[in-house]
């Protein structure tokens, strides 16, 4: 059975359709990146999955059960959400004590998770004085309190400095290596590309694609970058052969889905001077942008 099942999920806020008939599954033990531009419906989907938002139609289930019907939810699922606040006057340790008490978890878990995220030294300080990075760590500590097999993280890298992002990446990999299922959302593919096995990409509340990272990489295009004083002429020549090319700067041309042989022969036949030519691949970010923008945002 899938660890996470989103089935025909639709959520409307008044006239705004935040999530539109979305379906996907996350298998046990996989790390899945949940991607989409800002406003694509990622947060709404995750909050519905966690029972905080009631869906308009469809369902979201954890191990086949709606979150609200799980017996001991935080022993199943740990979540880090963006707007999940901490009382500014409460210390990190006391925040965790409150959660542990309500969930009936032993207080030894509090010290264990503080140690796990590296907050032991600052555990007695009020959260009001915490940096964004420390808050994210405390959020992760809270999520791990029940030692859950499934983790749901909403934009965990948002607002972190490069060191924080690096730490987070290592931490997520460690959680994945322990065999946990992780669903991590982001609006930047590069943030999670090194960590995830699969991606689920959504735009405007709809599923764009669900694929392995390898399949997504295979979608990147072969590009040829040419530096020539006759960029316009070469562009027209290539177009005649059915090769799309676009100018990039004053004297540069980037041909899509082409090889250096095709471009070189075309240039030589027309006597076009070439200063420089090299093969490139478009990066994942381009594929991501292409996928999410082609879906378009309904006007």
């Amino acid at each position: 059975m899938a660890a996470i099942t989103i089935d025909g999920l639709t959520k409307r806020f008044g006239r705004v359709v935040a999530v539109d008939d979305l379906s996907f599954e996350v298998d046990q033990g996989t790390v899945v990146g949940f991607l989409g531009p800002n406003g694509a419906g990622k947060t709404t989907t995750l909050r519905t999955l966690l029972g905080l938002v009631t869906p308009t139609a469809g369902s979201a289930r954890i191990d086949g059960t709606p979150y609200r019907e799980l017996a001991d939810p935080i022993r199943h699922v740990g979540a880090v959400l963006e707007a999940a606040g901490f009382h500014p006057g409460r210390s990190a340790r006391n925040h965790l004590r409150v959660v542990a008490t309500a969930a009936g978890l032993p207080l030894a878990r509090v010290d264990a998770v503080l140690d796990q995220v590296g907050l032991t030294q600052t555990a007695h300080r009020r959260v009001g004085g915490f940096s964004l990075g420390m808050r994210q760590r405390l959020g992760l500590a809270t999520a791990l309190l029940g030692d859950p097999r499934i983790l749901i993280l909403d934009e965990p890298a948002n607002g972190l400095d490069p060191e924080g992002v690096h730490w987070l990446r290592g931490f997520l990999r460690q959680l994945a290596d322990q065999g946990r299922t992780v669903l991590v959302s982001s609006h930047v593919l590069a943030e999670v590309a090194q960590t995830v096995d699969q991606v689920v990409i959504i735009a405007a509340g709809r599923l764009v694609t669900q694929s392995t990272l390898a399949d997504l990489t295979a979608r990147t295009d072969q590009l040829v970058r040419v530096r020539t004083p006759q960029a316009e002429t070469l562009k027209a020549l290539l177009a005649a052969q059915g090769v799309q090319a676009s100018p990039d700067g004053a004297d540069q041309l980037v041909a899509t889905a082409a090889t250096t042989e095709v471009v070189g022969k075309a240039a030589a036949a027309a006597g076009i001077v070439i200063y420089e030519m090299r093969a490139e691949r478009s990066n994942l970010e381009d594929v991501f942008l292409q996928l999410t923008s082609s879906q378009g945002v309904p006007s």
């Binding site: 806020f13 947060t43 709404t44 909050r47 966690l50 029972g51 905080l52 938002v53 009631t54 979150y67 609200r68 019907e69 799980l70 939810p73 935080i74 979540a79 959400l81 707007a83 999940a84 606040g85 901490f86 009382h87 500014p88 006057g89 409460r90 210390s91 006391n94 925040h95 004590r97 409150v98 959660v99 008490t101 309500a102 969930a103 009936g104 809270t142």
Partner: protein, 248 residues
Amino acid sequence: MIRLIRAEFTKLATTRLLYSMGATMAAFAVLTVVAGIAYAGREGNPALSADSLPMLVGLPVTLLSGAALLLGILGMTGEFRHQTVTQTFLVTPNRGRVVTAKLVAYPLAAIALALSILAFTAALATGWLAAKGITLSLLDARLGHVLLGAVLAAGLCGLVGVGVGALVRNQVAALVGVAVWVLLVEGLLMSLLNAPSLGKWLPSAAAAALTNPGGAQLSRLAGTLLLASYGLALALAGTRLVVRRDIT
């Protein structure tokens, strides 16, 4: 449910709210004792005697009921204000259980606060009058009467506070709403109705009946039942209509 109630007590014990409220109430208690002693024997007030303790201890009771109401409102709406409600509902997705735990924990906390302040007031008054050569009698039936009224008022006002907070989850709106209700609306209703037989059913009158029953007021038992009904009705309506909404 026990662990949810314990979690509510942990929440209360780990922020400054209850402590600063206790300190403020203690300061007010000092003022009321000073005023109570200063005005004793003047302007129709009975002179100080060995039987003055119930009068002095009873002085901060109304204020403590207000503090209990405030505590309940702040406890419930604070979850929404600081967005801690997200984590609370992740641990306990059944939101009715969360409200129920607060309906138990906050009245108990309010009673504990009230009893501490009343004990402090009694100690202060006893010490002061002892210095004036008046030995107060602690074995006074009226003292039990004052304490019972204070405990009921604090507990039930705490209950009503949680109910108000469940119905109006915006903290500022809840506080302003209650202030307007108590200071303005009830007064207007009283004068419009112009009939104590109807006015006694209002929440403030029900609370007053707990500390000062009889006369035009309801009996203490009727006041208790009425105020508890108000609190539970607010909490039920709040849970059904407001607390169940999407947490975004």
